[in-house]
């Protein structure tokens, strides 16, 4: 009886669109240079939020703060209800196993094959999976990005766009609840770019994942964004749907949609 009520409660929370990421007044600088200056935002469950901003405005810094690669100077970040500042190593790792992270630079391990690259997060986070299960998931995820035939190659043997797709596969392999994409379609041709955007929305609908997407590619933005946040001068300058923002009169907003 107890468990059912628990379940119902959890369902209720989920349906309630309780935010999975809450960022309040985040500040981050390097030396004298202030990059984020009081950035606040919420990511709702099942939502994809696109972050737009000029080069060097601190988009990558923002999502690195979320995953704990960079330490915020002040402000709070809550991910799945946990304040990441207060987590020790063990709990941080546990939390990270629910988050997929696509690096802007791909960050594939260049001394490992594609298979080993994809196995790495699985082995490390889950540990006790059977060999068959690991291999099955590697092939399945690679097939999703259209690269099953490259499984035994080295990253250096792949083109830039293929590397991006492998990196995407690695971010997705744990079926994370939250995915942080840093420029998922940059460097891809328009057709592959469209396929990747479609893959991203498919995953979002199928698993009800929540994602933050950093992108300059307006096709990708249009396809994937539920809401768009503009990062200007270290704060969230505007927040709204694609239609709301693209019809805005504000000069600062308009320039992104031209």
């Amino acid at each position: 009886m107890m468990t059912t009520t628990e379940n119902i409660k959890q369902e209720a929370v989920a349906n309630n669109n309780a935010p999975v990421i809450v960022i309040k007044d985040l500040k981050k600088g390097f030396g004298n240079r202030i990059v984020l200056n009081g950035f606040s935002i919420e990511l709702k469950r099942g939502e994809s939020l696109v972050i737009l901003g000029k080069s060097g405005s601190g988009k990558s810094v923002l999502i690195k703060c979320i995953i704990g690669l960079l330490q915020a100077d002040s402000g709070t970040i809550e991910v799945l209800g946990k304040n990441i500042d207060r987590l020790d190593h063990k709990h941080m790792d546990e939390l990270r196993s629910h988050i997929g992270f696509l690096f802007q630079s791909n960050a594939l391990y260049d001394s490992m094959t594609i298979r080993q690259n994809l196995q790495f997060p699985m082995r490390r986070h889950l540990g006790d999976l059977s060999r068959e299960e690991v291999n099955r998931r590697v092939i399945e995820t690679l097939t999703n990005v259209g690269l099953a035939q490259t499984v035994d190659m080295m990253p250096s043997e792949l083109s830039g766009g293929m590397q991006k797709r492998v990196a995407l596969a690695r971010a997705l392999i744990l079926n994370p609840e939250i995915i942080l994409y840093d420029e998922p379609t940059t460097g891809l041709d328009p057709i592959t770019g469209r396929e990747i955007s479609k893959l991203m929305t498919d995953i979002q609908h199928k698993y009800r994942t929540s994602s933050i997407i950093i992108s300059h590619d307006m096709n990708c933005v249009k396809r994937t964004a539920d809401r768009i946040a503009l990062l200007v001068n270290g704060v969230c300058y505007a927040l709204g749907t694609y239609d709301e923002l693209s019809t805005s009169d504000d000069e600062n907003i308009k320039q992104f949609f031209e």
């Binding site: 690669l69 790792d93 988050i99 690096f103 960050a107 594939l108 391990y109 260049d110 790495f120 997060p121």
Partner: protein, 256 residues
Amino acid sequence: MKIATSIRSFLSETGSVARFVYRYLQELLSPRYEVRQFIRQCFIIGYNSLPLIGVTGFIMGLVLTMQLRPTLLTYGVVSKLPVMVSLAIVREIGPVISALIFAGKISSSMGAELGSMKVTEQIDAMEVSGTNPFKYLIVTRVLAATLMLPVLTIMSDAIGLYGSYLGVNIRDHTSLNLYFFEVFNTLHFGDVLPAIIKTFFFGFAIGIIGCYKGYNSSKGTEGVGRAANSAVVISSVAVFIIDLLAVQITDVLGLN
């Protein structure tokens, strides 16, 4: 003014190396232990350096013997050739030459490999994937270097002594048995043990400097190159400094 800044930067660098060493010791002792990676590194580090260290050891033994011979002949003590060469090889030349070769090969490759992993965000990617990169990359490498150099040095000593045996045989004739009988008659525990102990410190210094430089290298390919280069230079100097300290200590202990 310029001297002041360079002294300050030297001190702050020394401070951060000390913190790096402290962190190494901390992470070395606390679980989780990356046993597989450690074994892999031992294999890579040991196996890759063996040919080079073996060849140089052999040549040193041979050359040293051939060059010492005329001098000893002048004083009429040519029969002491095995004694002199074996002492020189085991106490000083074997450990130091092996360490220098090791520094050139291992320290630079650690600097370059870790440096490029750093700038391409592979180290960050490991951290995101539930791995402590310090344990996975640094602890395994430094520990492997610390333990492998003594093993390599013992092999290099043995090969060097064989080279010396061949050197003796170019002019004179001794049997291998007789040669090694002479050698083992001369060498004492007090000759071998301090020499082997200091190679642990050589190996540790080489590993930690290579890893420190790579792990802290600055962005860009230039930063990686600089990391590899300064790793070799600093670890080679460190070998000599440790050697200098070691000889003082053995002197105080009456082992010289």
